[in-house]
């Protein structure tokens, strides 16, 4: 640090480290499982070099593990980034991506698909869950009265819409007791449905949403201030808030419809990155996306291998590993600020 200058708020090295963490996580994710694959061969196969994997191993890598790891990374990035954005928009460190009814709406949509889907369940479920999530958040804005509603009104409207959707979902479950188990398993989150088709459509929406959020990430810092302060710094907070919530909702609804309700990523990862880097700025958003992706890929690796050949729901892993780690970071940060 030069004399007469304060330290930089953000450094590119932090983002680069997060990207490296994601790469390592992905390599571990495709390498380990009931059958372990050689890392050298994996890299050669992925780069199209000679002496790569062959036969079953090649199929295992390209058709099973890789789409699953890519979907895990996409969902993790979507949930972590949306969580961070919601926390800035609602000026609430406990805000998560499911706050405005996206989760309850998606849950209701999925339950409708499961209870009425017949044989073609998995084809319908993501579409119903996606529509449920998006419609619930749209209803939240409608109940709140206007597009540029203030954060606390939106929050309360989100709670009301979420409760209504959950009540309706419970009613449907009670009427179709056979659906209880698949709904429950979906609620705990799963990446078992991953294939390249799911990756393609989920990737399309999630990458669009993430692109928008990363583009506006620097201005998002203004939302942590009062509206008057944001205006004095040249930002119209209502517009930014609306764009941010819309993009975060698109990412969340897509993630939920592809993999069910995976909890804790949206809260833990933003705090983890901000705690470790000791920076609150939204310039950390890209790093949060990378770390969220890495976190979910590793969590999925745990879900696949810990009770192998059986699988644990990934939501159990994210909470089981995430909660103690989160508490550790929180404690370290509080100690640092005293």
């Amino acid at each position: 640090m030069k004399k007469n200058q304060i330290d930089r708020v953000w450094r590119w090295q932090i983002t680069a480290s997060a990207a490296a963490a994601l790469l390592i996580a992905c390599l571990l994710g495709v390498g380990f499982g009931p059958v372990n694959l050689n890392f050298g061969s994996i890299i050669r196969t992925l780069l199209g070099l000679p002496n790569g994997l062959e036969n079953e191993d090649r199929t295992l890598l390209l058709e099973l593990r890789l789409p699953r790891v890519v979907l895990g990374a996409l969902v993790g990035a979507a949930l972590a980034t949306s969580g961070a954005v919601y926390q800035s928009v609602f000026r609430n460190p406990l805000a998560d991506p499911y706050l405005l009814g996206a989760a309850s709406g998606a849950g209701l949509g999925a339950t409708i698909a499961i209870t009425n889907g017949g044989g073609n369940l998995h084809a319908l479920l993501p579409i119903f869950a996606f529509l449920g999530g998006v419609l619930a958040v749209a209803a939240t804005f409608l109940v709140a009265g206007r597009l540029f509603a203030d954060p606390s009104t939106l929050l309360l409207a989100g709670i009301a819409v979420g409760s209504f959707a959950t009540a309706f979902q419970t009613y449907l479950q009670q009427r179709n007791s056979a659906a209880l188990r698949p709904v429950y398993s979906w609620i705990l989150g799963e990446l078992t449905v991953a294939n390249w088709d799911v990756v393609k459509w989920a990737g399309f929406y999630i990458l669009i949403a993430l692109f928008v959020l990363i583009r506006i990430s620097k201005v998002l810092d203004a939302l942590m201030l009062s509206d008057e302060e944001a205006y004095s710094l040249g930002v119209s907070p209502q517009k930014i808030r609306f764009i941010a919530v819309a993009a975060a909702t698109l990412a969340t609804a897509t993630a939920v419809s592809a993999s069910g309700l995976i909890g804790f990523v949206g809260i833990v990862v933003p705090h983890l990155v901000r705690g470790l880097t000791k920076r609150a700025t939204n310039r950390s958003l890209l790093s949060i996306a990378f770390v969220g992706a890495a976190f979910l890929v590793i969590a999925d690796l745990g879900a696949r291998t810990l009770l192998s050949p059986a699988e644990l729901p990934i939501g159990v892993i994210t909470a089981f590993v995430g909660a103690p780690f989160f508490l550790f970071v929180l404690r370290a940060r509080n100690r640092g600020s005293q």
């Binding site: 007469n4 930089r8 009062s226 004095s232």
Partner: protein
């Protein structure tokens, strides 16, 4: 020079500012005074471009709402304090309009350093803003406004959360800022303090400007008492300086030496 002409602001059916006309010269300190609900904060918010209005607010001949390059700093009465943000990071936000969001030039980091020093915050730059005392936070807000290098600085009740010692420290700092040519407009509940620092007092009531003029003449005016329903009284100190205090009941013309 700020020229406000025939400015009106409506919230739904209510007209919260009515036909305001003011001329505020550059490099002066004007203090908005009046009871709660008089429209003081709305006037500040309108100047920030937050409120649709009819009439005009011009800075050096250009309408404020259309002048994106005009830098108006705002020091809020109740700031929204982000969790886990350091003092340096928070003050650096003040450079956002000049540098572009997310950019931090070496020049900006110099200025932030300089202003932290000027507000006696150097050494606290790594501390989290949500752990600061009221007086420290006020200094941080002033530092952030200063790094904005503003033409105009709006302060909403800058001293309301502070003890006497810190009130004077903050107001002295604002006076120094004014001396550099920045136009200061503040709201203040403490009219005595307002008159001590601002050369000009603007009395507001029910969305209108009742009186606007040189501080010492305004505080002796019947309009000031009428704005507060005659529930204030003006006393003169031995050195001739006026002190305005709340009266228990409508006092009429009560003046004396204390």
């Amino acid at each position: 020079m700020i020229n406000i002409e025939n400015l009106s602001v409506r919230f739904d059916d209510a007209e919260v500012l009515q036909s305001i006309n003011l001329d505020i010269p550059e490099g002066t300190w004007s203090c908005l005074v009046g009871p709660n609900g008089a429209g003081k904060t709305t006037l500040l918010r309108t100047m920030l471009g937050m409120q649709p209005y009819s009439g005009s607010i011009k800075y050096n001949g250009r309408e404020i709402a259309k002048n994106k390059s005009l830098n108006i700093a705002f020091v809020p009465q109740r700031p929204s304090i982000p969790a886990a943000m350091s003092v340096a990071e928070y003050v650096m936000l003040g450079r956002a309009k000049l540098d572009g969001w997310g950019k931090e030039s070496a020049h900006s980091r110099n200025i932030v350093h300089e202003m932290l020093e000027a507000t006696q915050l150097l050494g606290m730059q790594g501390q989290l803003v949500n752990t600061l005392s009221g007086g420290e936070m006020q200094r941080v807000l002033i530092a952030r406004a200063l790094v904005q290098e503003p033409e105009v600085m709006l302060l909403d009740e800058p001293t309301s959360a502070l003890d006497l010692h810190h009130q004077i420290a903050v107001l002295n700092k604002v006076e120094e800022i004014k001396a550099t040519g920045v136009t200061i407009i503040s709201t203040m509940h403490d009219i005595t303090l307002g008159a001590m620092y601002a050369e000009r007092i603007i009395i507001m009531q029910s969305g209108r400007v009742l009186l606007d003029g040189e501080s010492q003449s305004v505080i002796h005016s019947p309009e000031l008492r009428s704005a507060f329903d005659d529930r204030i009284s003006v006393h003169l100190l031995e050195n001739g300086r006026p002190v305005i205090i709340a009266a228990k009941r409508a006092a009429g013309l009560e003046q004396g030496v204390i």
